[in-house]
């Protein structure tokens, strides 16, 4: 099978039935997509297949033959982060980070199809991705900011949209 992964042509042996996730991680050493469930239930393995977000644990590698596959490694390197990656850093949208690559690629596809900063639309687009750490609020804020085309200061994080500070107590 011939795949293109993050711009590089790859030739793969093995069964066309092998999930794309396992081909990426175990044969090609592309470990950005995570094996969170191998059931299609969590979204940690989502990659872009010809620009569309797909659960790579459900997709037989044979179905990706000839397709352009983009993983998190392919959307931006540390010195050259994509806007959505910058947004995730600036909005503190990743905690343990295990769901992050799948979440980013779903968001990247949402932005590519012209998604707005409307929270409900973002929630619908990313609905299948489970994050157990963040409670989603800051992920939604990050995607909305990227959708607006904001620029991001990576030396600090955004003031929480859902929080106010108060001084109280028994000083």
């Amino acid at each position: 099978m011939n795949l293109t992964v993050n711009g590089a042509a790859c030739e793969i042996d093995g069964s066309a039935l092998t999930p794309l996730l396992d081909v990426l991680r175990d044969e090609l050493g592309v470990t950005g997509p995570k094996a969170g469930c191998h059931q299609g239930g969590c979204g940690a393995c989502t990659v872009l297949v010809d620009g569309e977000p797909r659960r790579s644990c459900l997709m037989p590698a044979g179905y990706a033959e000839g397709a352009e596959i983009v993983t998190v490694e392919g959307i931006g390197a540390p010195e050259d982060l994509a806007p959505i990656q910058q947004a995730f850093v600036h909005y503190y949208a990743a905690q343990c980070g295990f769901c992050t690559s799948g979440m980013l690629l779903a968001a990247q596809a949402y932005l590519a199809r012209g998604g707005s900063d409307d929270h409900e639309s973002i929630q619908e687009a990313l609905a299948g991705h489970v994050c157990r750490c963040t409670g989603y609020a800051k992920i939604i804020d990050a995607v909305a900011a990227a959708a607006r085309g904001d620029s991001f200061d990576l030396t600090t994080t955004a003031v929480g949209k859902h929080t106010t500070m108060a001084t109280g107590g028994a000083e």
Partner: protein
């Protein structure tokens, strides 16, 4: 068919650090010849952000920029003991160890700087990576130069170690539970209001809003505290209305083995979340912090239960408040039994109804 709305309130408290204490965390720091700081600790970062927080504490305590810090928690060969990342202790206990280690490093830097500048170390301070004479800011030496002097001139390795351990608070009387020492390091507090919408025909409960107030002691990194609180809110929502390993508890039948059958909250379950952070500093935590990571999922379930009562007039006291439990409660319309001054709810759930004499819960009439 109708949808009903309701609101409920809860207030909670939660201890920081292991109950009864006795849980050490340690940290050690070394300074490179250019003044950059290497921090070694055994605290796992499980997403809670302890790599960041402990680096912030060290930078602040020594007086150097944050990006001078490297933080290594990667292995047990180089890192000292940390009991672990649980019990809301990674900032409070392990962060305190980092603060203590950084204080020692600062003291040693000032000692060397004092020799170089021929000024008493107590008249020096470190500000943004420079050792500065108090009251004479033109007299200064960069921390990098101090570290170089220590390495090449004084033949010294600048290190600092810190250990935080509150002694184990033994139970002195197991009959009463009395302790001789405080069993907690600090206590955090929170209050919560939940708003729900309940469909009285399908029993579906949608949490529409959570307003919460947390006493965080001091927010060392407000974005990270928000992350804990918002993440906890969704986990609390899961506890309240979605999640259950055993859908027919105590039966073990129909246990789910997939995200399709175990309902961890998804993005579309999210209500409006508003949080107020109060800073009521703890005397013992680093820079006044309290640990709030765990308690963040505690106030929502009871607030949601009360909101469901407010909406449709039934108390569901088994979690999660599933559509089925709401419908069963609506159908039963159970009234508490009144006996003398006793008002007895939920009798069918009690050990008194289920146990055949093995255990009872006796309350005088």
């Amino acid at each position: 068919m109708a949808k009903h709305t309701g609101r409920g309130i809860a207030a909670i408290e939660y201890p920081t650090g292991m109950n009864q204490n006795g849980d050490p965390s340690q940290c050690w720091i070394k300074v490179k010849p250019d003044g950059r700081i290497d921090v070694f600790a055994g605290t796992a970062d499980i997403g809670n952000g302890s790599k960041t927080i402990q680096s912030q504490i060290v930078a602040e305590t020594i007086g150097v920029p944050y990006d001078w810090i490297t933080y290594d928690n990667s292995n047990t060969d180089s890192s000292p003991v940390c009991t672990g990342t649980f019990a809301s202790r990674a900032t409070f206990v392990a962060g305190k160890a980092a603060e203590k280690a950084a204080q020692e490093v600062k003291r040693k830097l000032l000692d060397i700087a004092g020799k170089e500048l021929e000024i008493d170390p107590s008249d020096l301070e470190i500000v943004d990576g420079e050792v500065v004479a108090k009251g004479a800011p033109q007299t200064k030496l960069s921390v990098g130069d101090v570290a170089a002097a220590a390495t090449w001139g004084h033949g010294e390795l600048i290190t600092g170690t810190g250990a935080q351990l509150k002694p184990y608070a033994a139970i002195v009387d197991p009959e009463t539970g009395e302790v001789d020492l405080p069993p907690h390091s600090a206590i955090s507090y929170a209050a919560c209001s939940a708003e729900v919408e309940v469909d009285d025909e399908t029993g579906e409960v949608r949490v529409t809003r959570l307003q919460q107030c947390y006493d965080v002691g001091r927010a060392l990194n407000p974005s990270q505290v928000e992350g804990q609180i918002e993440g906890g809110a969704m986990m609390g929502l899961g506890l309240g209305v979605l999640e259950n390993c055993y859908p027919y508890y105590p039966s073990v039948e129909h246990r789910g083995g997939a995200f399709g059958s175990y309902l961890a909250p998804g993005m579309e379950d999210m209500p409006q979340i508003d949080t107020i952070m109060i800073e009521n500093p703890s005397a013992d935590g680093p820079y006044g912090a309290k640990g709030i990571g765990e308690m963040a999922n505690n106030p929502q379930p009871p607030a949601i239960a009360a909101a469901v009562y407010d909406a449709v007039g039934v108390w569901v006291t088994e979690l999660p408040i599933t559509p089925e439990r709401v419908l069963r409660a609506l159908e039963a319309k159970a009234e508490p039994r009144r006996e003398g001054k006793k008002v007895v709810f939920d009798e069918e759930l009690s050990v008194n109804a289920v146990s055949s004499g093995g255990i009872r819960f006796e309350v005088p009439a």
